[in-house]
């Protein structure tokens, strides 16, 4: 039974990681930008959600406001800065790095250095029996939300017009442009949507994991591991990688607390050696 609990914990955490890694991976797949600011989108989103929750008491409103605010910030960064260096990897990475630092310090300024926790939404503040244990309902809710979003993203990518354009853009942006797809708008949309997804992750994570200075870097690193394992540019890879990393991280924290990250990084190293482009990445 204890194993079921660890697996459930891992999957719940994995779903949060998926929300962050999915955007990171799609943004890279479409425009070849390694967006380091993604860690900030997660943390800033969480903080904004926290403030909205404190002011209004509504978790849904917290999620929405954070997603809209971070989506707009993401769109602005893409339009005003990243666009100038289309397909020039190093300057783009440096820019997103600069913004990671700027947001990191702003967050420290605005919300202070102490870890902050969001109150668990009232409805989920209970446990369900699981064998001889009681399991927090909120984590099951996380798993459900993550599954719904993953399913929704997949459906969107496979069955909508915009999703088809997205796949075309990932495959070959030049040809997609030549076929009359407005790649420019697509870039901004995907960047904003990826940012909003990360902020969703931040708000959803806040009742379970605290928000603290440095959470942006910590989360970014795990999201990197997820897409190294799963492969850049692949939704399936992001999901598989996120679940694997979530479970390994939970087991590591439970059994080797001093070397928690090792249980995540050793498998990453093995996968790198065997398949440098990740489980689902293309050559």
């Amino acid at each position: 039974m204890i194993w079921t609990i660890h697996i459930l914990n891992g999957v719940a955490y994995g779903m949060l990681l998926f929300l962050i890694a999915a955007g990171l991976s799609l943004i890279y797949g479409l425009m070849k930008i390694l967006n380091l600011t993604h860690g900030s989108f997660y943390l800033f989103g969480g903080y904004i959600g926290l403030t909205v929750m404190q002011k209004t008491g509504s978790f849904v409103l917290a999620l929405l406001v954070a997603a809209v605010a971070i989506g707009l910030i993401g769109a602005a960064i893409e339009r005003l800065f990243l666009r100038r260096f289309h397909l020039d990897e190093l300057p783009q990475t440096l820019l997103t790095f600069g913004f990671l630092f700027i947001f990191s310090d702003l967050a420290l300024w605005l919300w202070g250095g102490d870890p902050l926790m969001l109150d668990t939404p009232h409805f989920f503040e209970r446990s369900v029996p699981l064998g001889e244990y009681a399991y927090p309902l909120y984590r099951l809710f996380l798993i459900a939300v993550g599954s719904v979003i993953a399913g929704g993203l997949w459906w969107f990518q496979e069955h909508t017009r915009l999703g088809t354009m997205l796949r075309a853009g990932v495959d070959d942006a030049e040809i997609a442009r030549a076929l009359g797809i407005n790649v420019s708008v697509l870039f901004t949309l995907v960047f904003a949507a990826g940012a909003a997804l990360a902020s969703f992750g931040g708000v959803l994570a806040a009742p379970e994991l605290s928000l603290y200075p440095g959470a942006d870097f910590d989360t970014l690193i795990l999201a990197f591991v997820v897409i190294i394992v799963g492969g850049l540019g692949s939704l399936r890879g992001a999901l598989a990688g996120a679940l694997l990393v979530g479970i390994l991280d939970d087991l590591g924290k439970a059994f080797f607390p001093q070397f928690a990250l090792f249980t995540v990084f050793v498998p990453m190293a093995v996968i790198l050696v065997v398949r440098p482009t990740g489980l689902f990445g293309r050559r």
């Binding site: 990475t93 600069g98 990250l261």
Partner: protein, 313 residues
């Protein structure tokens, strides 16, 4: 005067100035200059990877930190004489590079950046988490400076010690980038596949560059541990790697002078900004954005543009 003579004169003047510096300024600035030179070594070592080999590492602090932790652990935990700990630290950092290189070199471009980042954070998490060995985030104070028959405890003797080592490191790096090996690295930066076709074992050259860069970074790390008489996990943290990256790019990647200048500027700015506000990280972020927007090829690039514009009116 020819370009060569001008350059020689500039080097002689700079050396004379650096030698006389402790007589000219207050001890505080001698300390600041020591830090600048330590980070100049660090930035030049990264440039060997970024500027000459075309590998953008976001985990160079790993080797820097290993050099620093090695001197601290060897002396404070295992009682090794500090004169032995110093060369041992260089070996430890080089060995770390040799261990990490095969993993990192599985990938290129963004993947390489992510992997070096992730690997360096693993080392950081060890330094941070293994409290019984490293004291975790409290760090290890009281790292004694080595003694090679002359004491290095004063500000001035340590300054000269670092000056000599920085000069030697710079000479060694200049020799490396001018050698056939260095030319091959530049060839690899321009086109891996072409060098492969010419019969070069590209992987081995990249591996060698990675390991050499790690060794020089370890030298800088060990010196920094001596300078502060302290090591802490922040030596290995991504911000340290990121600072090195911006030093190289601000100065001008692919020239050794540029990164050394960039290191001096960033260290000076950090000192200056930190004395006025706590928000150094914010300022560093803004520097990143500004440099990328306005001087993507660094200060050396700006100077070259200016020269070219004057040459062809």
């Amino acid at each position: 005067m020819t370009g060569r003579a001008v350059r020689l004169a500039a080097i002689v003047l700079a050396l004379a100035f650096l030698l006389a510096l402790p007589e000219l300024v207050r001890p505080y600035y001698v300390g600041l200059a020591t830090r600048m030179m330590i980070f100049a070594i660090f930035a030049m070592s990264l440039d060997l990877l970024l500027g000459y080999t075309g590998l953008a590492s976001l985990g160079h602090a790993a080797d820097f930190g290993v050099g620093a932790y090695a001197v601290a652990l060897l002396v404070l935990r295992w009682g090794v004489a500090s004169a032995f700990a110093f060369p041992a630290a260089l070996i430890a950092a080089t060995a770390t590079g040799a261990l990490l290189a095969p993993l990192a070199l599985r990938a290129r471009g963004s993947y390489f950046l992510m992997i070096t980042f992730a690997l360096s954070q693993v080392l950081w998490s060890v330094a941070f988490g293994w409290r019984t060995l490293t004291n975790g985030d409290d760090g290890m104070p009281g790292v004694p400076r080595p003694s090679f028959g002359f004491p290095l405890d004063g500000t001035d003797p340590f300054y000269y010690f670092v000056l000599v080592l920085a000069a030697l490191a710079a000479l060694a790096l200049v020799a490396i980038v001018r050698s056939p090996f260095g030319r091959a690295l530049r060839g690899i930066r321009e086109s891996e596949s072409r060098m492969q076709a010419l019969g070069y074992d590209v992987w081995r050259y990249q591996f060698a560059a990675f390991v050499l860069a790690a060794g020089f970074a370890g030298l800088a790390g060990a010196l920094y541990a001596y300078f502060n008489r302290f090591v802490g996990p922040e030596y290995l943290y991504v911000i340290q790697s990121a600072e090195a990256l911006i030093m190289v790019i601000l100065g001008g990647a692919g020239t050794l002078v540029g990164p050394a200048l960039g290191a001096g500027i960033i260290v000076f700015l950090e000192d200056f900004v930190s004395s006025m506000t706590e928000h150094w990280v914010l300022v560093l972020g803004v520097i990143y954005v500004l440099v990328t927007l306005f001087a993507p090829r660094g200060l050396i690039g700006l100077v070259n543009d200016f020269r070219q514009r004057r040459a062809e009116p």
